[in-house]
């Protein structure tokens, strides 16, 4: 036997669980404004989660997928991307979307069962949330193919969960990206669970960073609760892809501190001790510890931030609750640029019977 191929998966952590640097930090970490911007966005996500869950519990929002615990990954990916890049999200990566210009009102509108929530005012080319698990990955590869063919220095980023990597669509997209050396990065958010199925039961793979090796795409793992590490790893992966050196798989190792969605009850299947341990490693505390250690942050700043977030969220909720209700024409308006004649008749029938009672 002779060895014909060798592979290694490296893992990065720049901020440890206590918010201490594990070694030399990248330039941006010394930049007060950039670090505070990331921390502020993480806190906004955390507080927004609480509000959204509360709206759902009180019948003012539909099922909602929280992001608590994954904020560092989401925000750092947003910070590493360029505005002209394109995001293909799953459904809980609000930190990335908010960084790119999606609004809290748009997020609420989506989870209220209103298509207008996906008509993002700002990242016009980003894909909307993608519920059919795995199916967003080929979209990102296709977007990257367009960038490659047009010789644009842009990247596509696809999110995928630990559970999502079991879908063939993910592997098909990674293989295409490798074969064509496309400017796309696949970010596997390994938050430990796919609803009730733990990552260890999902696959025999020791890491999710290695998910691309079979298709010739390198991978790297990073502590997903380390906002500096994730941003650095993503900046490297994006720089590499942008200059034509091909795709990468990035595994962000984090934890879903919430239920899967508001329709789920994780206490049915998740060991309490595991959850408790995970809370000790959550991303906000360590980021705050770091910015405090730099002398950039204090209790006053925290209080002001939280107050600011609360107002921002309340405004968003207000805007959301006061949006114009959708009429039945809404179902027909955007099916086709040139709708077939028959549809008009059905549109009129729908008008006659009205919109029923949209609960939210």
């Amino acid at each position: 036997m002779k060895t014909v191929a060798e592979f290694a998966i490296d893992s990065e952590q720049l901020l440890d669980g206590a918010g201490r640097a594990t070694g030399k930090l990248p330039a941006f970490a010394a930049h007060r404004g950039q670090m505070l911007a990331m921390y502020r966005m993480m806190v906004l996500c955390r507080l927004f989660d609480t509000k959204a869950i509360n709206l759902q519990r009180t019948g003012r929002l539909g099922t909602y997928a929280p992001c608590t615990g994954n904020e560092a990954t989401h925000v750092a990916v947003g910070a590493a991307m360029r505005p002209e890049d394109v995001l293909c999200p799953v459904y809980r990566e609000y930190g990335t979307q908010l960084w790119r210009g999606v609004t809290l009102t748009e997020i609420l509108t989506y989870w209220a069962g209103d298509e207008r929530g996906t008509d993002f005012a700002v990242p016009r080319e980003d894909f909307p949330w993608c519920v059919p698990i795995g199916s967003q990955c080929p979209h990102a590869a296709g977007v990257a193919m367009a960038f490659k063919m047009r010789r644009q220095p842009r990247c596509a980023v696809a999110y995928i969960g630990d559970g999502g990597t079991s879908q063939g669509a993910f592997h098909e997209a990674v293989n295409l990206a490798g074969a064509q050396q496309l400017p796309v990065v696949f970010v596997v958010v390994n938050n430990g669970w796919a609803i009730s199925v733990p990552a260890a039961a999902q696959t025999a793979a020791q890491t999710f960073a290695q998910k691309g090796l079979g298709n010739g795409v390198p991978g790297v793992q990073v502590d997903g609760n380390d906002v500096i590490g994730v941003r650095q790893v993503m900046e490297d992966a994006l720089a590499r892809a942008r200059c034509g050196d091909g795709p990468m798989v990035v595994e962000a190792l984090t934890y879903r501190l919430s239920d899967h969605t508001t329709a789920d009850d994780a206490s049915r299947y998740r060991p309490a001790a595991e959850l408790e341990a995970a809370w000790k490693l959550e991303p906000l505390l360590r980021t705050r510890a770091f910015i405090e250690s730099q002398g950039w942050w204090d209790e006053a700043g925290e209080t002001a931030l939280r107050a600011g977030c609360a107002t921002q969220i309340d405004d968003a909720v207000h805007g959301y609750q006061n949006r114009t209700p959708v009429g039945t024409d809404h179902m027909f308006e955007h099916l086709f640029a040139h709708p077939p004649a028959q549809l008009a008749e059905q549109r009129d029938t729908a008008r006659r019977y009205g919109a029923g009672d949209p609960r939210h």
């Binding site: 539909g62 099922t63 459904y91 989506y110 989870w111 209220a112 069962g113 209103d114 298509e115 949330w129 519920v131 059919p132 698990i133 795995g134 559970g163 999502g164 079991s166 879908q167 063939g168 669509a169 796919a194 609803i195 009730s196 199925v197 039961a201 999902q202 696959t203 329709a263 789920d264 049915r268 299947y269 959708v326 039945t328 809404h330 179902m331 027909f332 099916l335 028959q342 549809l343 059905q346 029938t349 729908a350 019977y353 009205g354 919109a355 029923g356 009672d357 949209p358 609960r359 939210h360």
Partner: protein, 325 residues
């Protein structure tokens, strides 16, 4: 006799099948300790272990494909797909293999698989969780497609589906999972497949429906009764094959037909019923057939799902107009 909901009736049938037949295996995403997202499999993994009630990796195509492999060895997989919108990745295995294995091997290998999934909308679920795609399955020879509408029939039909030596797609009306309770004896008695059921007898108009739309159709029938309009309501139950005889018999004495389904109208299953009537019972028709269906649009996000799903009023108006036609 315990009062149970439709989803509890399914749970009872699964438990019974697992207990009676060692070859029965329940598998799917989150069917184990979590008991399924609708709790249809709750408690079963505790009773039967983590192989006979098996959480699979997240891949519907693989779930259908592995079920075929297990079935070829004589096992009886009962797979769950979490929502009908996630059926698509499994269609290749269902259509190209499951429906064909017996035929292409001349009976050497068979495929006694059941695939269960929720059907339809109306529960304010997220995008892709409210689809009605029965026609995609019904068009494929080699499959049976069943859709129960009461706890007792869910119990008896699921047992029949599991015991059937061929693949059966079992559609569970999401809206009815917990809508009402019924006495169900866990007696292990299966109901016959391939049969429609007359839910309500009547003389003026034949209403044919299935799945959760039975609920609105029944309400419409009651509403119309107060206007002196007597509707015969047929619960199609077997979507493939269709029990045309029961429909034609009813039509022979009512002369009027209104078909109600939640799926989009264009090339929906209602067309097959109307077409069969136009072929075999044209001269029984006293008025044009009518279909009351979902629109030829994408199933809207839930804010408008009630505008999409045929309402009691829409159904009642259709019945009224067939009488004045």
């Amino acid at each position: 006799m315990p009062l149970v909901t439709l989803v509890e009736g399914i749970n009872l049938a699964l438990g019974r099948a697992l207990a009676d037949d060692p070859e029965v295996v329940v598998l799917g995403e989150d069917v184990g300790i979590n008991g399924g997202v609708f709790r249809a499999t709750v408690g079963l993994q505790e009773r039967f272990g983590s192989l006979r009630v098996q959480d699979t990796p997240l891949a519907e195509g693989m779930i259908a494909g592995m079920s075929i492999g297990m079935a070829s060895q004589g096992m009886k997989p009962v797979a769950e797909i979490q929502f009908m919108g996630f059926l698509y990745p499994a269609l290749d295995q269902i259509a190209n293999h499951m429906a064909r294995l017996r035929n292409r091997t001349r009976g050497r290998l068979t495929c006694p698989v059941v695939i269960r999934m929720p059907h339809g909308g109306g529960i304010h679920a997220p995008e892709h969780h409210s689809e009605s795609l029965e026609v995609l399955l019904c068009h494929h020879a080699g499959l049976r497609v069943v859709c129960p509408t009461s706890p007792a029939r869910a119990y008896g039909l699921l047992l029949a589906a599991i015991r059937d030596p061929d693949p059966v797609i079992f559609l569970e009306p999401t809206r009815l999972y917990r809508m009402s309770k019924q006495d169900v004896v866990d007696d292990g008695i299966a109901l016959p497949l391939d049969q429609a059921e007359v839910l309500r007898e009547g003389d003026d108009v034949t209403l044919v429906s299935w799945g959760a739309m039975i609920h609105e159709s029944l309400q419409a029938a009651e509403l119309l009764a107060h206007e002196g309009i007597s509707c015969e309501l047929i619960d199609l139950t077997s979507l493939s094959p269709i029990d045309h005889d029961t429909i034609l018999e009813s039509l022979a004495h009512t002369g009027r037909l209104v078909i109600v389904h939640e799926a989009a109208r264009h090339a929906g299953l209602g067309a097959e019923i109307a077409a069969t009537v136009a072929e075999r019972a044209l001269y029984d028709l006293l008025a044009p057939v009518q279909r009351v269906t979902g629109y030829d649009t994408v199933m809207p996000y839930f804010a408008l799902e009630r505008a999409y799903i045929p309402s009691v009023e829409r159904i009642a108006d259709a019945v009224r107009s067939t009488l004045t036609a």
